[in-house]
C-alpha cells in the first residue's frame, strides 16, 4: 500500500521536475510544455513504453499530461482494432472524452459561480 503511494509520488514528481527544468532553462512557454507532454505521451503510448510505466507507478504516470497522451494512443489502438479505419477518427477523443467534458463542465460552472479576482 505505502509503496504504491511512494511510487506515485516519485514518478509523478519526476515528470513535474522535468517540466520545471524545461521552464527554467529553455524559456518554453507553459502552453508549449503542455502540448509537448501530451504529444510525448501519445508517442510513448504508441511505442508501448508508457503503459508499463502506468502499471508500475499508477497515478504517478496517469495523472501527468503524458498520461492523457497515452490515453489518446491506447484509445486509437482499441478503436481501430474494433471498428477499423473509422477508429482513427474516433479513438482519441472517445478515450479522453470524460476528462475534456469534465474540464468544460466544471470550467463553465466556475465561470458562473466566480469572477476574476486581483492577485494580492
Amino acid at each position: 500500500m505505502f509503496i504504491e503511494y511512494l511510487k506515485a509520488f516519485l514518478i509523478g514528481g519526476l515528470f513535474c521536475a522535468v517540466g520545471q527544468v524545461l521552464i527554467d532553462y529553455t524559456k518554453l512557454t507553459p502552453a508549449r510544455i503542455l502540448v509537448g507532454y501530451v504529444v510525448a505521451g501519445v508517442v510513448l503510448g504508441a511505442l508501448g513504453v508508457y503503459q508499463p510505466l502506468v502499471d508500475f507507478a499508477g497515478a504517478g504516470a496517469s495523472v501527468p499530461l503524458t498520461g492523457f497522451g497515452n490515453l489518446l494512443a491506447s484509445g486509437v489502438r482499441k478503436a481501430v482494432s474494433e471498428d477499423g479505419f473509422i477508429g482513427v477518427l474516433t479513438g482519441g477523443l472517445v478515450a479522453s472524452a470524460a476528462g475534456i467534458t469534465a474540464a468544460v463542465l466544471f470550467g463553465f460552472i466556475m465561470a458562473v459561480l466566480f469572477k476574476s479576482k486581483d492577485k494580492s
Binding site: I23, K27, P30, S116, K117, D118, K119, S120
Partner: protein
C-alpha cells in the same frame, strides 16, 4: 515658443508651472514604501466596477478629479487633456475621461506616456495654443494581465526579471505661471531596439531607449548628471536600471543608483517583501511616483532639479507571437524649481 536646442531637445521659454497633481493607487501600492505619499488609495482594486477595464477608467477619472480639486479648478478650466494608458485603443482614458468634456488628445507611448503627455501639454501651453492643460496616465495590474499575459486565475510562474504592473494613476495640471516647479525642457525619444525578445524582461528591452534619450539631452544641453539633484527613470526595474548605468558608462556618463539615479519601478514597492520580482511597471507606475513623491518633494525644495525619463515598450501580443523583438521609446522631461529664460 519652445526653442530647439541641439538636435533633439526643446527648451521652454515660458514658465510652465506644474500647478496641481494627484496620485491614486490600490492595495499593493498601499502596502509599499510610498503609501503615505498617495492622495487616494483604494484597497478595492475594482474601484466599485464590474470589469477591470472599467475599474482602470474610474481610477483615471478619480486621479484627474483629485488634481482639479487640489488646484481648485473645474473641468471647464482645462483646455486640453493629454492622456494614455496600456489597453488596446487606450480605452481606460477614453472611457474614464468621456464625461469630463475636455478636448482630448489621446497618446500612446506604453509606459512612457506620462512624460510624453506632459511634454505635449507643455508645448501646447508654451505656444499659447492652450492656457491650461492636464496630463494623465494609468495602468491596472488586472486589465494589463488579461490583455498582455494570462487570465488572473491561471497558475503561472513569473521569472525573476518580470515586473509587476502598478494599479495606479497620476495626473498633473500645467499652466503658465510663476510658481515652481516648472517643466523646463522636453526631449522626445526615438524608437530603439537592441533585439530583446523576452516579454518577461521589459527592463532590458527599454534600457537602450532611456540611455539614448539621456545621452542626447546631456549633449544638447551641455550638462552632466552632476547638474541635477536626481534622475528618475520610469519603470526599468532592477535589471533595466542596472543596464542603463552600464550603457551610459560606456559614454562616460556616470549614473549611480546609490547617489544620483533611481527608477520609479524600484520605489513603488518593497522588492524584498512584496513579491514583485524586478519591480513595478506600467504607465501608472511612473505617473503615480511622479505625482505622489517627486513633485511633492520638489514643492518642499528637497529636490530642485530633476530629470524624469519615462520608458515604454512598444510591442503588442501579436508582435510578440510573431517573434518580433521589443522596440522601446523614452521621453525625458526636465523639471526645475528655478526659471530663467
Amino acid at each position: 515658443m519652445a526653442v530647439k536646442q541641439g538636435k533633439h531637445s526643446l527648451i521652454m521659454q515660458k514658465p510652465i508651472s506644474v500647478v496641481s497633481y494627484a496620485a491614486v493607487g490600490s492595495k499593493k501600492e498601499s502596502e509599499g514604501p510610498l503609501a503615505n505619499n498617495f492622495d487616494i488609495l483604494n484597497a478595492d482594486s475594482t474601484f466599485g466596477e464590474d470589469s477591470w477595464e472599467k475599474a482602470e477608467s474610474t481610477m483615471q477619472k478619480i486621479a484627474v478629479k483629485k488634481a482639479l480639486e487640489k488646484g481648485s479648478y473645474t473641468e471647464k478650466d482645462i483646455d486640453y487633456i493629454c492622456a494614455g494608458d496600456l489597453l488596446n485603443q487606450c480605452i481606460s482614458s477614453t472611457y474614464g475621461l468621456r464625461d469630463l468634456g475636455i478636448q482630448f488628445i489621446g497618446l500612446y507611448g506604453a509606459c512612457s506616456t506620462m512624460a510624453e503627455s506632459i511634454g505635449v501639454a507643455s508645448i501646447f501651453i508654451e505656444s499659447s495654443a492652450a492656457k491650461r492643460c492636464a496630463a494623465v496616465t494609468s495602468s491596472h495590474f488586472c486589465s494589463a494581465e488579461r490583455q498582455f499575459r494570462f487570465p488572473l486565475e491561471y497558475g503561472g510562474q513569473r521569472p525573476p526579471t518580470a515586473q509587476w504592473t502598478a494599479t495606479a494613476s497620476g495626473s498633473v495640471i500645467l499652466e503658465e505661471k510663476n510658481e515652481p516647479p516648472y517643466i523646463r525642457a522636453v526631449t522626445f525619444g526615438t524608437i530603439e531596439d537592441l533585439g530583446i525578445k523576452d516579454a518577461n524582461n521589459m527592463g532590458a528591452a527599454m534600457a537602450p531607449a532611456a540611455a539614448m534619450t539621456l545621452k542626447r539631452f546631456f549633449k544638447d544641453t551641455k550638462t552632466t548628471p552632476d547638474n541635477y539633484d536626481m534622475i528618475f527613470t520610469g519603470d526599468l526595474g532592477k535589471v533595466g536600471a542596472q543596464l542603463l548605468c552600464e550603457l551610459l558608462q560606456r559614454d562616460n556618463i556616470k549614473l549611480s543608483q546609490d547617489k544620483n539615479y533611481t527608477d520609479c519601478g524600484l520605489m513603488l514597492y518593497d522588492l524584498n517583501t512584496q513579491d514583485v520580482h524586478a519591480g513595478a511597471s506600467g504607465c501608472g507606475c511612473s505617473a503615480s511616483v511622479l505625482c505622489s513623491t517627486i513633485l511633492p518633494q520638489m514643492k518642499e525644495k528637497k529636490l530642485n532639479d530633476v530629470l524624469f525619463i519615462a520608458t515604454g515598450a512598444l510591442m503588442s501580443t501579436t508582435s510578440a507571437q510573431q517573434g518580433e523583438s521589443i522596440p522601446s521609446v523614452a521621453h525625458l522631461i526636465y523639471i526645475s524649481n528655478s526659471f530663467n529664460s
